[in-house]
């Protein structure tokens, strides 16, 4: 088994090396440089036992509330898997870089993970920007990649080596509009941030609203760093035909919107996106969040799920483990990282090797994989594989905590 792995590794390495040498010959210093390339070859031949999981995350910077819990999750579970004997009898080796939410850093780190750290699989890209910046490179260098970013563009159109675990913003919009439809709401005001998440969410909301008989009659935006959205909300309030408000964004801004909404005494229901699905939103928005509805990952409401729900057990286990290690309840974003790591481990085990092509194929063949975000069924046409029913639960904030909305 071991030697087979080595042989396959060697084949791909040789392929890459050969490509490089071909390019080298086209240059003036071909002779000189092939010496360097041989040096490179020698160092790569020394590939050894551990399975290298590489990761670049926005653990600091404006998206740190995504990347920070993801880093904690990966670190925690890599250690746990190693304590239990690793994967394929080999230990996991975890390398992680903080891209600070900067896409060019993300791209450089992706290259570092592939070329220098020789990662077998890459998990990362907390934001869509960071993910997309690395995609071209990853496609070219052919390494399996599981993104933790939300937007649809990550997997549509399907890219051969790119997978993702979070629900898409389109699914979130659909879930919100479906709930509005049930309540008989048809004309709404949309308020979104101009950051990546908000802008993409706004676009998707416009794209799917009509499918649910919803018309967006007010459309306001704010900058991600804005500290008061009262003017925008005042405008929406001034339109008497608005029956509900949807705020599509993540970070601290939705909490400010929620507070402004409550202060203005707007009597029409407020919806948020899955971007605020964390305890910190409840903490920051405080009493103002009462009655707010939003779609959330099952993790946040794991204890409320009925016992026969297939997601109850894995989500509860994840929550307990995380809470034990870090003293806080994991957010949905931590769950994306958990699912990504477990999908990677599952694929490597089924492939029986770390050969990138075999692992990629195994990932694409993932069926009925029970993650904490939902049940994954990947296919050549779908590199996310979540269905809307298991991955999103509509909740309402009541008494400072989440309550499942009975759907009947």
């Amino acid at each position: 088994m071991e030697s087979a792995t080595h042989v396959i590794d060697l084949v791909t390495i040789e392929k890459r090396l050969w490509e490089e040498i071909v390019m080298l010959k086209k240059t003036l210093l071909a002779a000189v440089c092939s010496v360097a390339a041989f040096g490179l070859g020698v160092s790569q031949v020394a590939a050894d036992e551990p399975i290298r999981i590489g990761s670049f995350l926005s653990a600091s910077g404006p998206a740190s509330f995504l990347g920070d819990p993801q880093r904690k999750t990966l670190r925690l579970y890599v250690d746990r898997i190693n304590e239990e004997g690793g994967v394929l009898g080999r230990p996991l080796e975890f390398t992680y870089y903080d891209d600070h939410g900067a896409s060019d850093q993300a791209r450089t780190f992706a290259r570092r993970l592939i070329a220098r750290d020789r990662s077998h699989i890459i998990i990362g890209g907390s934001t869509t920007g960071a993910t997309m910046a690395a995609v071209e490179l990853i496609e070219r260098l052919e390494v399996p990649f599981i993104s933790l970013a939300g937007a649809v563009v990550v997997v549509e159109p399907v890219k051969k080596w790119v997978f993702k675990t979070p629900e898409t913003d389109r699914m979130a919009a659909e879930q919100v509009f479906a709930d509005m439809q049930r309540r008989g709401i048809s004309r709404i005001g949309l308020i979104s941030g101009t950051g990546g998440f908000g802008a993409s969410g706004r676009q998707q909301s416009h794209a799917v609203a009509a499918d649910y008989g919803i018309e967006i009659i007010e459309d306001e935006t704010y900058a991600p760093d804005d500290t008061d959205m009262t003017p925008q909300l005042t405008r929406i309030r001034a339109n008497p035909e608005v029956e509900a408000i949807l705020n599509f964004d993540f970070g601290q801004a939705p909490a400010i919107v929620t507070r402004n909404y409550a202060a203005l005494g707007i009597d029409r229901p407020l919806y948020q996106s899955h971007g605020v699905a964390s305890e910190s939103y409840l903490e920051l928005a405080g009493a103002a969040a009462e009655g707010v509805r939003l779609p959330v990952s099952p993790i946040l409401v794991a204890d409320l799920l009925p016992d026969d729900d297939p997601q109850k057990a894995p989500t509860m286990a994840f929550r307990e483990t995380y809470r034990e290690a870090y003293g806080e309840t994991p957010s949905a974003f931590a769950g994306y990282a958990y699912d990504a790591l477990m999908l990677a481990v599952d694929a490597i085990e089924r492939a029986g090797t770390t050969d990138p092509h075999a692992v990629r194929d195994a990932l694409e063949q993932t069926t009925d994989f029970q993650g904490v975000t939902g049940t994954f069924n990947m296919s050549p046409e779908d590199h996310m594989g979540l269905d809307i029913e298991t991955s999103f639960r509509m909740v309402e904030v009541r008494n400072g905590t989440w309550r499942l909305i009975e759907q009947d």
């Binding site: 404006p62 509330f65 101009t194 500290t227 008061d228 601290q252 910190s280």
Partner: protein, 291 residues
């Protein structure tokens, strides 16, 4: 609708007051040292974050806020002693880079010590909104406005009635002449940085219940404060306050009446126009370049 207009105005003036406090910090340091202190926004962060964590240890809120503000002043002094004083003769641009380095350093320390999460301070006196004429005002907004007015009055007194304040003003007009008059210019610089730190921390403490605080909150506030300071005329105290309020109100009106998409751009277009047609800002003193 008139009540909408009033609502935008109230929102704008509240935001503007925080910009004004940050802008004042820029102006005080600029006057004393001709340095643009890119760490000014981070004083705001220091104030807010330290208040959050001092309250968490169980210290009563008013005491905690006071300690947080004093801590801001201390950081101002440390910045001067550790970064500016040793490089006094380095010239303006290296000094600016030093403040950029200091800003990154402060954020770096804050994220290690306090983490990267957002935090909210409790409002000083409840969060039951006050309504009149169809306008909603949060009690915290009144705190922000009241404290800003108090500080402006205190600064006015300090700079016109006290020996130290007058010395600072004199130094800002002509350092060499001030030195000849026996003013300890080193002391003046130290006090200026301490003042800027205090002002920043006050801003951080009073807005944290409205805007929340985290380790990078100073980035945007610092930039807006700088814009406000230049808008009013860098170095002018009246200008800093006017610049802050103008900026805040313009933003709110843009968001309320036109569109938020280019709300932030308006401030910069305004700046360019003012600089092109009134090169020293609305309240700036016209300068003559020495040969």
């Amino acid at each position: 609708m008139f009540s909408d207009f009033l609502q935008f105005l109230v929102t704008g003036v509240t935001i503007g007051a925080t910009y004004a406090l940050v802008a004042l910090g820029f102006s005080i340091i600029y006057n004393a040292s001709h340095v643009i202190n890119f760490a000014q926004g981070d004083f705001v962060m220091i104030g807010g974050m330290s208040a959050v964590f001092i309250i968490a240890t169980g210290v009563p809120m008013p005491v905690a806020l006071l300690i947080a503000v004093l801590f801001g002043g201390l950081v101002g002094i440390l910045l001067y002693k550790g970064g500016i004083e040793p490089a006094r003769d380095a010239g303006v641009i290296p000094l600016i880079i030093i403040t950029v380095g200091a800003a990154l350093f402060l954020r770096g320390v804050a994220q290690v010590v306090w983490g990267r999460s957002y935090h909210a301070l409790p409002p000083f006196s409840g969060d039951e909104p006050i309504r009149f004429l169809g306008v909603v005002v949060m009690p915290q907004s009144l705190w922000v406005l009241g404290i800003t007015v108090l500080i402006v009055a205190a600064l006015g007194y300090f700079f016109t009635r006290t020996m130290l304040g007058k010395a600072i003003l004199a130094t800002s007009h002509n350092r060499d002449a001030a030195k000849l008059m026996g003013i300890n210019t080193n002391m003046v610089l130290l006090v200026s940085f301490a003042l800027a730190g205090l002002l920043g921390a006050v801003a951080g403490v009073i807005v944290a219940p409205i805007t929340f605080t985290y380790y990078e909150v100073g980035v945007m506030l610092g930039l807006k404060g700088f814009v406000a300071a230049v808008l009013g005329g860098l170095g002018s105290f009246v200008g800093a306050i006017a610049g802050g309020v103008i900026l805040g109100v313009t933003e709110a009106m843009m968001a309320g009446y036109i569109s938020s998409d280019y709300k932030d751009a308006v401030a910069f277009v305004l700046i360019l126009l003012i600089l092109f047609f009134m090169p020293s800002g609305i309240f700036g003193k016209g300068g003559v370049e020495r040969v």
